[in-house]
Amino acid sequence: MLSVKNLKVTYGSIAAISDVSFEVPEGKIVCLIGANGAGKTTTLRAVSGLVAPSAGTVTFKGADITGAPAHKLVGLGMSHVPEGRRIFPILTVKENLELAAWTIKDKTEVKRRLEEVYEMFPRIKDRIGQLGGTLSGGEQQMLAVGRAMVTGGDILLLDEPSMGLAPVLVDEIFDKIIAINKKGTTVLLVEQNASEALEISDFAYVLEVGYSTISGPAKEIAADARVREAYLGV
């Protein structure tokens, strides 16, 4: 589904990531774990087209999409829930969701997808007329995932969905991610909360200061002594 090879991104003269490679097979959940500043967010931003990489290639559904602008990739089936959720604060919840349908011209299809979001997140439905900025952190995260469901990509990129959430909500969000994956959406997950992420993932890659280092099936990674010591705190 998605293949990233030797990706490099620089901001000015500073390399945010130097050499990152990974594969996301169709229908799977893949996670990138690593410490703060390892380059996880930058990697996702380069994949979804928010920043242009300075070297390397990104292949999506067999096509080279390296450096393609984000708004075009949405149409090709890429959904990205960015770090910090990035809800439009002075648009209503409904307007936030409707905007996510920007590339979809079929009105009934839009309606169907909105219903799907309401079904998965009943709490969002209750808040429909409220301004996005007035939602709680957990609700904003649900809305952000809901928006991505409306854009309806074949792959869902999630950047730190658990950040700043109470443990109960973290579990709820991860359950929803599994549910979305079960419906056929491939998931690429970036997390600092490594233990939770490894639990739901099929494959995992470890990012260290701009390089992808250890990789393998999530279960093996979770058992790897180096990973356990550095990221799982055991």
């Binding site: 928010l50 984000a70 007035t134």
Partner: protein, 302 residues
């Protein structure tokens, strides 16, 4: 004191305010979407006035003066204002979009001078003022002690129609929703599939077209145009936008009408004061309420 705030002055103030409002909207929309004070905006107004001037003489050859001709001239003035705004954004501001803000600000001042000197240098335009033709036959009406010309009605009607149209576009259409989204968070808008550059161009187009319409109305109302005519109205409309709260659309309109009325009333008292009142207002606003009347609503949550 009565003569200063007479109904006549209020009518004149509303008329001037309508023109300021059309210019101020462009300032505030562009600021709202790219956080740039576009100091060339007053010159888009000048371009609109000359486009109206030129298109009037072109079309007057085979069309009589009247509403039909005035409408064509309005459309062409708006097209010219919109076109120059989009071109300015594309060639001058877009390359600097993600550079420090000061670069675009200095560039805006440069574009402003470029347009003023270029228009002075074009042989058919030249640096000296020109009389603006009476595109519509002038009629006078009397309401109590105030004299109202049909130009007042035209100015207010054009401004009202454009402003209502803009409000509808921004509040009720999906394009307007996208414009609001882009002004709040560009990256998030990109991830919704919105072509942010195109929305920014559209914003410049609308702002420029409104300034172009204001150029025609100003030519009609104060029938003397010259290449530097955009400087002062541009500055005053900018102050109106600051007064209303830059980034706020109703704020720009309210600020413009306050400015228009303040200016005509002050001019009635003393013509020098009339020229300076805008800057007095600016200083007072910056001292007492720098965010303006409506400020910018924020609902950020961390």
């Amino acid at each position: 004191m009565e003569s200063i705030f007479s109904p006549q002055q209020i009518v004149n103030g509303l008329q001037l305010g309508a023109i300021y409002a059309l210019i101020a909207l462009g300032y505030t929309m562009v600021y709202g979407i790219v956080r740039l004070i576009n100091f060339a905006h007053g010159d888009f107004f000048m371009v609109g006035a000359y486009a109206a001037f030129g298109s009037f003489f072109m079309f007057n050859v085979f069309l009589p003066r009247g509403n039909g001709l005035a409408f064509i001239v309005l459309i062409l003035a708006m097209a010219a204002g919109g076109a120059i705004a989009v071109l300015t954004d594309h060639f001058a501001y877009k390359p600097l979009r993600y550079k420090p803000k000061l670069s675009s600000l200095v560039t805006a001042i440069g574009v402003s001078m470029l347009l003023e000197y270029a228009f002075s240098a074009i042989p058919m335009i030249g640096p000296s003022p020109r009389g603006f033709p009476e595109i519509l036959p002038k009629k006078m009406y009397h309401f109590g002690s105030a004299e109202v010309s049909n130009y007042v009605i035209v100015d207010l009607a054009v401004a009202a129609v454009l402003m209502i149209g803009l409000t509808f576009l921004i509040q009720r259409t999906s394009l307007g929703k996208a414009m609001r989204a882009v002004s709040q968070d560009k990256d998030a808008a990109r991830l919704m599939g919105i072509n942010v550059d195109r929305i920014i161009s559209l914003t410049f187009l609308i702002g420029g077209a409104f300034a172009g319409a204001a150029g025609l109305l100003a030519g009609l109302t104060y029938p003397r145009i010259q290449p530097y005519m955009g400087i002062l109205p541009g500055l005053k409309a900018f102050i109106a936008a600051v007064l209303g709260g830059i980034g706020s659309i109703p704020g720009a309109v309210l600020g413009a009408f306050i400015m228009g009325i303040a200016e005509t009333c002050a001019t009635a008292y003393n013509s020098l004061l009339g020229e300076g009142i805008a800057f007095v207002i600016l200083i007072v606003v910056l001292l007492l309420r720098p965010s303006g009347i409506f400020g910018e609503k924020t609902a950020d949550k961390i």
